[in-house]
């Protein structure tokens, strides 16, 4: 994994380094024994949570909202006397949207802060980069991105519901509902883009829609008109956008330059108020759509929407939207649910990772986005409720409910 491999020039000194590390580890173990080994997660009066999010760089539109949410609700809890009487101690690091940097700051945080769990990061690429570090340290990591991972790492959880349900089934249902017959993919070449492209492949296979082509570009690319021209010439009636953050702006700028009025479907990571702000002048008339969540359209939910989920969404929205004056936002709601799941777990099971995992996989959590039911083999633990929203150009009311599919079929084969 990037950032963890030993550079070649260090191998000659391997024995010396190993000997030194053994001595350091022994000293650390003695120190831990001397302190009773209770530092992880803090004392009984504190809940220590590490937060590694993308506050800068390409994914900052996600990380900034997530961090703002976590800090706002932690402040609220602490002012009210703490979570179940225990103060919350946060340590925050910025991974700069860079997987290698995510590894470094996570490692530093685990060594210096000893959190009970680490929240982060904001994207698939940085979540995956952090995972070997948290697994080696036996610390629960809760990724706010979809970032699925086979259940080989017992300590890794991710915030999003079944990725296939969000990125395949919802998109497929929506595209078929709109009577499209030929669609195209454009996305970035990083881990996030690769995940989207894989899901798009499942969509094509499951629906029988014609594929107008799959265009991939480097995240640093500023002009994608050539890629869009290829998709337009291939007859794409809608685009599946496999990127988030500034990549959405790059693609919509290209569409605007080409004067190509085509509907665009984005991933859940892009359904954020900051993205709305960035693309408000770039929206094609045909619209930009994405998988929505109840908090984003809490005041537009249809009458047949599940009552429990509607109530939880409105509770979140009351504080986040009404009291704090923020626009409704998926990332904010995901961060809010993440924080509450971990706080409840640490408060109930303590800071020891195995006990936390045991608690999380044997209890049900009612969040603003989902009802989470983690199992031993699935640490995503939630189903998707089938909302699709359309972006508006109004930052105060960024999303309009476009469709609700309560009985979505499965197109992903899972």
């Amino acid at each position: 994994m990037k950032g963890t491999a030993m550079p070649r020039y260090l191998r000659a000194k391997h024995r010396t380094v190993v000997a030194g590390l053994t001595a350091v580890a022994a000293a650390a173990a003695l120190t831990a024994c001397g302190s009773g080994g209770s530092s992880a997660g803090g004392s009984t009066s504190d809940i220590k949570l590490g937060v590694v999010l993308s506050q800068t760089g390409a994914q900052s539109s996600l990380g900034a909202t997530e961090l703002k949410t976590i800090q706002a609700f932690v402040d609220q809890y602490n002012k009210q006397g703490g979570y179940k009487g225990r103060q919350i101690d946060l340590k925050v690091s910025d991974d700069q949207s860079d997987p290698a940097h995510a590894v470094d700051v996570t490692r530093a945080m685990l060594q210096s802060f000893h959190p009970a769990a680490v929240i982060g990061s904001s994207s698939t690429a940085t979540c995956y980069a952090m995972e070997p570090v948290t697994e080696a340290a036996k610390v629960v990591q809760y990724c706010i991105s979809g970032a699925p991972l086979a259940p080989r790492d017992p300590y890794y959880f991710s915030a999003l519901g079944q990725t296939d349900r969000v990125l395949v089934d919802t998109a497929a249902t929506w595209m078929l509902d709109k009577k499209f017959t030929k669609v195209g993919f454009i996305g970035t070449s990083d881990a996030s883009g690769q995940l989207y492209q894989t899901e798009y492949g499942k969509l094509i296979q499951g629906t029988g829609l014609q594929d107008a082509g799959q265009q991939v570009y480097s995240p640093s690319t500023t002009d994608v008109t050539a890629q869009l021209t290829r998709l337009r010439s291939a007859g794409a009636q809608a685009l599946y956008l496999g990127t988030s953050g500034s990549g959405v702006v790059t693609t919509l700028t290209g569409l605007k330059q080409l004067g190509w009025n085509v509907p665009v479907y984005v991933g859940e990571g892009s359904v954020s108020s900051l993205t709305v702000k960035a693309i408000s002048g770039l929206l094609p008339e045909a619209g930009v759509y994405g998988p929505g969540e109840a908090p984003e359209v809490f005041d537009q939910l249809p009458s047949n929407f599940p009552a429990g989920s509607a109530t939880a969404a409105k509770q979140f929205a009351k504080t986040w939207v009404t009291d704090l004056g923020n626009p409704p936002d998926w990332d904010a709601a995901a961060a809010y649910d993440t924080l509450n799941i971990l706080l409840e777990t640490v408060a109930a099971a303590g800071p020891e990772a195995d006990k936390m995992v045991s608690y999380m996989t044997s209890h049900q959590f009612t969040g603003s986005l989902f009802t989470y039911k983690f199992t031993d083999v699935d640490h995503r633990g939630s189903d998707y409720l089938g909302l699709v929203v359309r972006f508006t150009s109004n930052p105060a009311a960024p999303f309009k409910l476009d469709a609700f599919y309560p009985d979505m079929k499965t197109y992903s084969g899972s």
Binding site: T221, S246, V249, K256, L258, A278
Partner: protein, 292 residues
């Protein structure tokens, strides 16, 4: 055919950006021989300052653009006068290290001052695309191409027909000789940095309506500008323009006809081949960056 023309227009449009950035690189390399690795940050400062003044303080766009260009020029000038001149060893490696440090510092200062989000500004011209025979282009891109022509022509006139330009050229050819006739080479170098910063800022204010700008955007724009300068021939102004346009066309055609994930691989591979085959650039008029 329409697709080919669209790839061509798109390539030339992005190539014009690279050319403008490459001209900024070229001034400093031409006058001082220094590879200023903070040049991309001058582009970033120009773009971000414009977007910030317009978006946060509601300045008139034209005024914000002028202030942003001047800000880039001042920062670039200060980089030479306040930092590089103070480095005891004036060897190229020491100076280049100084510019790397300045680059990292400016990125962080920009992040703290402007925030981490990508900022945008409106354009002086219409944002609706022009459609010419099935090919689309934004008026801002036409403006950028026009500015590139004016700047390239202006630089040619400046270095050939003005006393200041000839003084800068003289200090390049012989520092001792220049001092004999009353020209201070150190001041000429600072002027080159100011000019380079002004060009970087100009590129920044012109691209911010197209791509937006964030604290870390300058690095890739600067790198592409440098590649363009090397493509054409380091130290040659016409070659920098040609190199930028060529680089843009390579980007456009490779994205249009080849697997698009390999665009950067193709571009950088071509650069390596070029450096091996023609160290002085395609034009053959540039200087070699490293001599054996």
């Amino acid at each position: 055919m329409n697709d080919f023309m669209q790839f061509t227009i798109g390539g030339l449009a992005i190539g014009a950006v690279y050319s403008l950035v490459a001209l900024g690189w070229t001034i400093v390399i031409d006058v001082s021989g220094i590879v200023n690795l903070a040049q991309g940050e001058m582009v970033m400062i120009g773009g971000l300052t414009t977007a910030y003044l317009v978006g946060e303080h509601h300045w008139p766009l034209a005024l914000a653009m002028v202030v942003a260009i001047l800000a880039s020029g001042v920062v670039s000038g200060l980089l030479d006068w306040g930092v590089l001149r103070r480095i005891p060893s004036q060897r190229p490696t020491s100076l280049i290290l100084g510019t790397i440090g300045a680059s990292l510092l400016l990125r962080e200062v920009a992040r703290l001052a402007f925030g981490s989000d990508t900022l945008y500004a409106n354009s002086l011209v219409s944002s609706s695309p022009l459609h010419l025979g099935g090919v689309s282009v934004l008026p801002q891109q036409v403006l950028l191409a026009g500015v590139l022509i004016v700047v390239a022509g202006g630089l040619a006139v400046f270095f050939r027909a003005t006393r200041m330009g000839r003084a800068m050229q003289a200090s390049v050819q012989s520092a001792i000789g220049a001092r004999v006739v009353g020209i201070n080479p150190a001041n000429m170098r600072t002027l080159a940095f100011i000019g380079s910063g002004l060009l970087g800022g100009l590129a920044g204010v012109l691209v911010v309506p197209l791509f937006g700008m964030s604290w870390d955007s300058g690095t890739m724009l600067g790198l592409n500008g440098f590649v363009a300068a090397v493509f054409g021939g380091v130290g040659s102004y016409p070659a920098a323009v040609v190199g930028g346009l060529l680089l843009g066309l390579i980007h456009g055609y490779s994205a249009g006809y080849l697997p698009t994930a390999y665009t950067d691989v193709i571009t950088l591979s071509l650069l390596i081949v070029l450096l091996l085959a023609r160290p002085s650039g395609l034009s053959g008029r540039g200087r070699e960056l490293v001599r054996a």
